[in-house]
């Protein structure tokens, strides 16, 4: 028997509820005290096609998914066809007995076919074929001998409130029957089991976008606007859902141009403001980004990457916009780029983005991708400590217009929005106070904020230096890449963003295989103390960059700033997330070459 370590895949057409079933099951498992990692894969269509959802379970925290599965829940025949090869020997396939599935083929792979009267149970006991999902998940719980009370509690929470408990009751009736039937028929054949750990720390289950939302709200973001774009939409929608509770202004705008400009307007008024989009939408924000740079307006832009160019593969993942976000915008101006790599980092880095934006009065880009945005992870409740955020709010040199006393104190001889200081950062008083009436301009301006209509060379030089100076000062607030694993290693994997999880596990595997490996994660991409980075890399025996893009963009960025070149690169650009097995395989073929 293998306890508490299993990888389950649900598959079916769009519209069959694959994702919601998978997420519900993941949540139920997390409630039992186990850790989960849930990843989805869906097509850019609303009905039909083929979607799957995968839930990996373990007693320790998980950061990535795995290609090999033990249990396949097939909602349609295609799922069996497409995923049978992923099931390990001794694993099982659960499906409705009405599906045309070739049992012999399943058996020939050493996998156990487990047909079940799912539809029948749903219709007979639940009165609706829609409850097939419930039956399927319950059947899985049955063969895993997983305490059904956890799935039941999730069912209660999702149906109990909304449509009266009658539907919940019927679902639970279906679940019980499917559970018992599956356990009776198949549990003894199946090696993998799930056993609750009731005294484990309480867990949350959330994805990257939800984590970003939590971070933003905790940091005091009060204004969020955007235009729907996968995979960023669910962040926007999360903010909409929280608007009432946290007194936020959340707005859907006519386009992404307007979305960033709205945020700039709100930030100009002294409110923490953000927008979120994907690469295509960010393309439209580029001009406004430059305006934020010029007017020194602190805004936070979340860019959740997906495969380009153009519309690319809307529902899949890629890390193809590192260099784009670094250089986007006409003219030269300061910005920061942060790339959190896990759910926890999403929470904290998002909050930090607001601090950096306001402290340095510049736009801050938070780079994620579909894999990070959508993947569910369980984290201990305590791992997300909001005090770390709320107690560290840093609004920099901001005084709000209604803070009369502070203004009186600060303003001895008038207010100049872009006054020169050694650190390049001027006092920021949003409009509204009679002593601080001023203009700002996207044109090159005077310290007062007026357009410098004489276009004086000396003022221009000072303003450019002032703005760019902020980057140098900000370096002190930026984190050097973080090392995981042994200090001393023969191989260092260098990664950023969502590659963290898969690369971490790849590192563990390599160490298990006797290749002493560590990992260097870049969360802060820009600005950075590149001399120190160069030192760190120079101390690495051999480093390889691991990235979800074609041209190994981080490694190119590193080379631009340090001259250093990796021994090789592991890249992936087929729209699928990196995973530990893929990374190790690629490294193997690479290391032969290197």
């Amino acid at each position: 028997m293998t306890k508490n370590s299993v990888n389950i895949k649900l598959g079916g057409e769009a519209g069959q509820g694959v994702e919601s079933s998978g997420m519900g099951f993941a949540r139920a498992i997390a409630r039992s005290g186990l850790h989960i990692f849930g990843v989805q894969d869906y097509m850019s269509r609303i009905r039909g096609g083929h979607n799957w959802y995968q839930v990996r379970v373990s007693e320790r925290p998980l950061y990535a998914h795995e290609p090999k599965i033990q249990l396949l829940l097939a909602f349609d025949e295609r799922t069996v066809r497409e995923h049978l090869d992923e099931v390990v020997e001794g694993g099982a396939v659960i499906y409705d007995e009405g599906l045309k599935v070739d049992e012999d083929e399943i058996k020939s792979k050493g996998v156990i076919p487990m047909p079940m009267p799912l539809l029948k149970l749903a219709e007979e006991l639940g009165g609706s074929k829609l409850m097939l999902n419930t039956a399927a998940v319950a059947a899985a719980a049955g063969i895993l001998e997983f305490d059904l009370s956890y799935p039941e509690s999730v069912i209660r929470d999702s149906f109990g409130r909304r449509k009266g408990s009658e539907i919940a009751d019927r679902n639970i009736r279906v679940a019980n029957a499917a559970y018992e039937e599956a356990r009776r028929r198949y549990a003894h054949l199946f090696e993998w089991k799930l056993e609750a750990i009731p005294d484990a720390p309480k867990k949350m289950v959330l994805n990257g976008n939800q984590a970003l939302g939590l971070g933003a709200i905790a940091a005091g973001c009060k204004f969020c606007c955007g235009y729907p774009m996968t995979p960023a939409s669910s962040l926007l929608e999360f903010m909409f859902a929280q608007a009432r509770r946290f007194n936020l202004v959340v707005r859907q705008i006519e386009d992404e141009i307007g979305a960033l400009l709205h945020a700039i307007g709100a930030a100009h008024a002294g409110v923490r403001a953000m927008t979120c989009t994907s690469g295509g939408g960010f393309s439209l924000m580029v001009e406004a980004l430059s305006l934020a740079g010029s007017t020194e307006t602190p805004v936070v832009v979340v860019v959740a990457q997906r495969p380009g160019p153009a519309t690319g593969m809307p529902t899949r993942t890629e890390q193809g916009e590192l260099l784009f976000t670094l250089f986007a915008g006409h003219g030269e101006f300061p910005r920061a780029v942060l790339a959190p790599g896990s759910v926890e980092q999403c929470v904290y880095e998002m909050a930090r983005a607001f601090n950096l934006a306001e402290k340095y009065q510049m736009p801050v880009i938070v780079l994620t991708d579909a894999f990070l945005a959508n993947s569910l992870r369980s984290v201990d409740m305590d791992a997300i400590d909001f005090r770390k955020i709320t107690e560290n709010i840093d609004r920099g040199k901001l005084i709000l217009p209604h803070e009369h006393e502070k203004i009186d104190e600060a303003l001895k001889d008038g207010y100049r929005r872009y006054e020169f200081f050694e650190d390049g950062i001027s006092l920021r008083i949003p409009p509204g106070h009679p002593k601080a009436i001023y203009s700002v301009a996207g044109e090159e301006h005077t310290p007062e904020g007026f357009i410098d209509w004489e276009e004086r060379a000396d003022n221009r030089v000072k303003m450019m230096q002032k703005r760019m100076r902020k980057l140098e000062v900000a370096v002190s607030d930026m984190k050097l890449p973080q090392l995981y694993g042994p200090q001393d290693a023969e191989l260092t994997l260098v990664c950023w963003g969502s590659s963290l999880g898969p690369t971490l596990e790849a590192m563990e595997r390599l160490n298990d295989n006797g290749v002493r490996t560590n990992l260097l994660q870049f969360i802060d991409i820009h600005p950075l103390d590149w001399e120190s980075v160069a030192d760190i890399l120079a101390n690495c025996r051999r480093w390889v960059s691991v990235e979800g893009n074609y041209s190994a963009q981080l490694s190119r960025w590193i080379r631009m700033n340090t001259g250093l070149k990796p021994a090789g690169t592991v890249t992936r650009y087929d729209g699928r997330p990196l995973n530990p097995v893929y990374i190790v395989e690629q490294l193997q073929s690479l290391l032969v070459k290197v």
């Binding site: 949540r27 309480k202 949350m204 939800q210 939590l214 709200i217 905790a218 940091a219 009060k222 204004f223 606007c225 929280q242 608007a243 509770r245 007194n247 936020l248 202004v249 705008i253 006519e254 141009i257 307007g258 400009l261 709205h262 945020a263 700039i264 307007g265 709100a266 930030a267 100009h268 008024a269 002294g270 409110v271 923490r272 403001a273 001009e287 406004a288 305006l291 007017t295 409740m381 997300i384 909001f386 005090r387 955020i389 709320t390 709010i393 709000l400 217009p401 209604h402 409009p431 509204g432 106070h433 009679p434 009436i437 203009s439 700002v440 301009a441 996207g442 044109e443 357009i451 209509w453």
Partner: protein
């Protein structure tokens, strides 16, 4: 808002760089008059402009200003207004800004009825970039980008505003700053989005639509006792009057719709910028439970 405000209070230290005779002087004058008339002190008003000759206006009046990007003041102003809704927010931009490159923001701001006053400096040409035709240039207008005359029909801002749901639609003339001031004051007082399209002679690049050209044609809607600006049908008729007689004044007004701000729960108590941050820790902790 019944402060005593004088023209001097609104005097900027910056000298306008406009050409002598430019219609923008008349608009600047009218804007100041309107603020004086309404007693709005300079710190309680914020101007948002685009890029163009006229968009330099915020520098020429003592008030809060934001000189933004070509065609983009409208969304910035909206973001600002939602964050600071007790500020009087005025957008001033060009016909190129608003009817050209920024058209989409305009189309959408009109259906939101956000309480912003929008003054469009309509000189029917691109001034700052030296004389290309504008979306409002009359068909056949000769310019550096229409050497044989434009082949596109001009935009009709009044008609589009009516169709798009603007609740205050007016047209003024830079050559009559007193009348224009009155329109602007009414636009500011209007609870909701107010468009004031202003005929603004460009004495350099538009030698067709001159002060005289306008003076010969314009008449005031309010001089017609039968004209009812609450009647959209009438407004639509008047919107299409062009040629020998061109109406100015308030085409349309609808006071019955709520503003955008009024419909946003977070803004019911106080402006957003005054909200305390961060939120309460207990509320955040409670939020976590959503994820269990």
């Amino acid at each position: 808002m019944v402060a005593q405000v004088t023209m001097k209070d609104l005097q900027s230290p910056v000298e306008p760089t406009w050409c002598p005779g430019c219609g923008d002087y008349g608009i600047l004058n009218a804007v100041k008059r309107a603020l004086v008339q309404l007693g709005i002190p300079p710190h309680q008003v914020a101007f948002f402009s685009g890029i163009g000759c006229g968009s330099k206006l915020p520098d020429y009046i003592r008030a809060n200003g934001f000189n933004s990007l070509h065609g983009r003041p409208v969304p910035i102003a909206q973001g600002f207004k939602l964050a600071h809704h007790d500020m009087v927010v005025i957008v001033v931009d060009g016909d190129g800004d608003n009817y050209g490159i920024g058209g989409n923001h305009w189309l959408h701001v009109m259906r939101r009825n956000i309480n912003i006053t929008h003054i469009v400096q309509n000189n029917m040409v691109y001034g700052l970039t030296k004389g290309q035709y504008a979306p409002t240039s009359m068909k056949g207008f000769v310019s550096s980008t229409s050497p044989e005359g434009t082949i596109e029909w001009p935009i009709n801002p009044i008609a589009i505003a009516l169709a798009a749901g603007a609740t205050f639609v007016a047209r003024g003339f830079a050559g009559d700053p007193k009348h224009l001031a009155d329109l602007i004051a009414k636009g500011i007082q209007h609870k909701g989005y107010a468009l004031i399209d202003v005929f603004q002679p460009c004495v350099i690049f538009n030698r067709i639509n001159t002060y005289d050209w306008f003076r010969e044609r314009i008449y005031k809607l309010e001089d017609d006792p039968n004209y009812d600006p609450h009647d959209k049908r009438m407004a639509w008729e008047k919107a299409h009057e062009w040629g020998d007689r061109i109406p100015i004044g308030i085409f349309y007004i609808n006071e019955d719709l709520p503003t955008l701000e009024e419909q946003i729960p977070a803004l019911s108590e106080k402006p957003l910028y005054q909200h305390e941050i961060p939120p309460k820790l207990e509320d955040l902790e409670a939020l976590k439970l959503m994820f269990v």
